[in-house]
């Protein structure tokens, strides 16, 4: 049976659809095939691992009506296009491209396969069959900043960033503002390492931040390297994308966990119902349950836990937004008036840091 399938696959490109997925039981109704491309390996216990968890949750939810495949370690360059194209050619009708750098490639393939539906994570370009989705990670950053503000003894906290893109800038600002709400004089030192995943550089950068006086370090990069440095130097840090306490049992205070399952389930359902629409953006957060704070380390005092939980509750019921004015930029100009909330549209394109961030 295998040989027959291989030959068929090679002979008819168009009919290449279900054949590679040998081993999957056939149903009377063809199950919906969903495809994923991942930036890193599923074992990274961070960004990609969280998406994979979401994918698994979706498959389990639909009990056979939905099947899903993934390709990992897809680079954010032109080589991603054939991967996405393959998924589309193999009959995947809903394809999630889980990193910003897949934006143009997704659009290119979407044009060639108009009846497949594409969802691009953290992007901003749309088409009739391309939607984007994002997560309000910055809500989690506000929790981290609150904890850091309370627990920092040196008054200097660090942020290990990747690129100066809005997602990261938002995170830095949220971290800084929430820490400043606790300690107005707190300083945030920022290093951008120009990569999402480079353990050696992350470690070196974390060491540098530590040498510059930071005693709590948050990271926006995908490996636990910075946390390991914190553990070694007996400092504190936060996990990114997933609970990373196994890498740094003493240093890991808490983590922002990305819970993609509910979103993936809802989108697959929309395709099954026929109600899926492209061209728009979905931006879920704590209220929808896609950003979750992992258990707190024993080292976090009870009052700090309470303050953190207050932020979470505030986001869940909509009463709290860290980007509430007055907010000043690094030059001291007022960007958001007192009492006003920064509109989400501005936030999505933000490229300036708040006062107190040293970059």
């Amino acid at each position: 049976m295998q040989i027959l399938n291989r030959r068929n696959f090679i002979k008819t490109a168009a009919a290449a659809s279900a054949l590679p997925l040998v081993g999957r039981a056939a149903f009377a109704d063809e199950p919906l095939k969903v495809g994923y491309i991942y930036l890193g390996p599923v074992g990274d216990y961070g960004w990609t691992w969280a998406h994979e968890k979401g994918r698994k949750a979706m498959v389990e939810h639909f009990k056979g009506k939905v099947v899903a495949d993934y390709v990992e370690n897809v680079a954010e360059d032109a080589s991603a296009t054939p991967v996405i194209k393959d998924l589309a050619a193999q009959g995947h009708k809903l394809i999630f491209t889980t990193s910003f750098g897949y934006m143009d490639q997704t659009l290119e393939v979407a044009k060639a396969y108009p009846d497949a539906k594409f969802e691009h994570c953290t992007g901003y370009k749309h088409a009739d069959n391309v939607a984007t989705y994002n997560n309000r990670f910055h809500e989690g950053r506000a929790v981290q900043g609150t904890i850091a503000g309370h627990m920092s003894k040196t008054g200097v906290i660090g942020y290990l960033g990747s690129f100066k893109v809005p997602e990261v800038v938002m995170g830095v600002n949220s971290f800084a503002l929430s820490a400043q709400a606790v300690n107005p004089n707190i300083k945030v030192k920022l290093i951008m390492i120009d990569s999402w995943f480079d353990p050696a550089k992350e470690a070196a950068a974390a060491e540098t931040l530590a040498n510059l006086g930071c005693d709590i370090i948050a990271t926006h990069t995908d490996s636990p390297a910075a946390l390991q440095v914190c553990e070694k130097k007996k400092l504190f840090g936060f996990g990114q994308g997933a609970d990373m306490s196994r890498f740094a049992p003493h240093a890991h205070l808490t983590a922002i966990e990305d819970i993609w399952g509910p979103y993936y389930i809802s989108r697959a359902q929309a395709v099954l119902d026929g109600s899926w629409k492209g061209g728009g953006d979905s931006w879920w957060g704590m209220k929808e349950g896609s950003v979750v704070i992992s258990p707190y380390n024993k080292a976090v005092p009870a009052n700090v836990v309470a303050a953190a939980e207050k932020v979470v509750a505030g986001y869940k019921d909509g009463s709290y937004d860290v980007f509430t004015g007055p907010i000043y930029d690094q030059a001291g100009a007022e960007k958001v008036k007192k009492g006003e909330r920064m509109p989400l549209g501005t936030l999505a394109g933000i490229d300036w840091y708040v006062k107190g961030v040293q970059s």
């Binding site: 390996p41 074992g43 990274d44 216990y45 691992w49 370690n73 030192k189 920022l190 290093i191 951008m192 995943f197 480079d198 353990p199 050696a200 550089k201 992350e202 470690a203 070196a204 950068a205 060491e207 540098t208 931040l209 530590a210 040498n211 510059l212 490996s223 636990p224 390297a225 390991q228 070694k232 196994r246 890498f247 040293q358 970059s359």
Partner: protein, 321 residues
């Protein structure tokens, strides 16, 4: 700029420079014997995954419960495994370049690509796992002290690197075997006519170079960031190659050169963090490489143009008899 800050920065410099120093020390011996092995990056990655994997397996609780000594021994086993892996890569190079007379540049490059691929393949099973860093060996009061940690705060591999530089210097300049090795590198035909096995000596040098590169790779996966990531050496192998030339093939200058590079690599990060940005950060990131070129040019200009390179470097030796 307090003393503590300066010490902390210097410690970072030492940590960053050590893997380059280890690999360069090995490659220096290889090149002194007349072979140009460009495959350092590949051997480092092989060493990195081997070191990580063996340390992880040896330190696995299911073993150490019945044999607790295994857990303490685990990192040392890992280092040995890293050395062996690097050596195997070097031997592959040797068969092709020494025995079969293949082009050394191409073979070295093939080794890089091969090492990158094989380490990724093996490493796939080890992503997301962590080790305890193979770190400080001196007790806390010495190693954590803000000032004394400049001397006592390092992983055993750092001290090993220092020792090896000294050992290589002594070997090359004060022993008969070292003299033979240098002769083989300067004039292989004459060395052979005296009766020395040119191929044999070069194989031995390759083995040493491979072992050192493997250990350098293990430094990444066991000390700097005790986890495995594809391509985690990020081009440091090539800097090690530059360092060998930069040092004029002299072990003593190797030490200075390694720290010189380390300073620039560290400067890049400090510049980014302290807002020291009158020049774009990418300029600082380019500095180690630009500096390598500048020093290469200056050295060659000053000392009658590369006359220090072993005369047979890179030339295939295949006697017809």
């Amino acid at each position: 700029m307090t003393l503590e800050f300066l010490i902390a920065a210097l410690v970072t410099v030492v940590n960053v420079s050590t893997p380059i120093l280890l690999a360069a020390t090995g490659e220096l011996v290889v090149e002194k014997s007349g072979t140009l092995n460009l495959g350092v990056e590949g051997m480092m990655l092989l060493g990195a995954i081997a070191g990580f994997a063996i340390t992880y397996i040896a330190g696995d609780p299911q073993w150490s419960d019945s044999a607790p000594w295994l857990a303490t021994l685990a990192p040392w086993l890992g280092v040995v495994a890293g050395a062996v892996a690097g050596m195997l890569g070097a031997m592959l190079f040797g068969v092709l370049a020494l025995t079969l007379g293949a082009n050394q540049v191409a073979t070295g490059l093939a080794l890089v690509i091969f090492g990158t691929g094989v380490s990724s393949l093996i490493g796939a099973a080890y992503v997301g796992l962590a080790l305890t860093p193979f770190d400080q060996i001196f007790p806390d009061n010495l190693a954590q002290d803000p000032v004394l940690k400049l001397v006592f705060g390092y992983s055993p591999l750092v001290y090993f690197a220092f020792l090896m530089v000294g050992a290589v210097y002594w070997f090359l300049n004060r022993t008969r075997a070292g003299l033979v090795l240098r002769a083989v590198g300067e004039n292989d035909v004459s060395a052979r006519s005296i009766g020395y096995s040119v191929i044999g000596v070069r194989y031995a040098a390759l083995a040493f170079g491979g072992a050192m590169s493997g250990i350098a790779g293990a430094y990444f996966s066991m000390v700097i960031t005790p986890l495995w990531a594809e391509g985690m050496t990020a081009g440091r192998g090539w800097i090690a190659l530059a360092l060998v030339v930069f040092s004029g093939w002299r072990p003593g200058r190797l030490l200075g050169g390694a720290y010189f590079f380390g300073v620039f690599m560290t400067l890049e990060l400090y510049a980014k963090a302290s807002g020291f940005s009158f020049l774009p950060s990418q300029f600082w990131a380019s500095m180690p490489y630009l500096m390598a070129i500048v020093v290469l040019a200056l050295m060659s200009a000053r000392e009658s143009g590369g006359a220090e390179a072993p005369a047979c470097l890179g030339k295939t030796f295949m006697p017809d008899a």
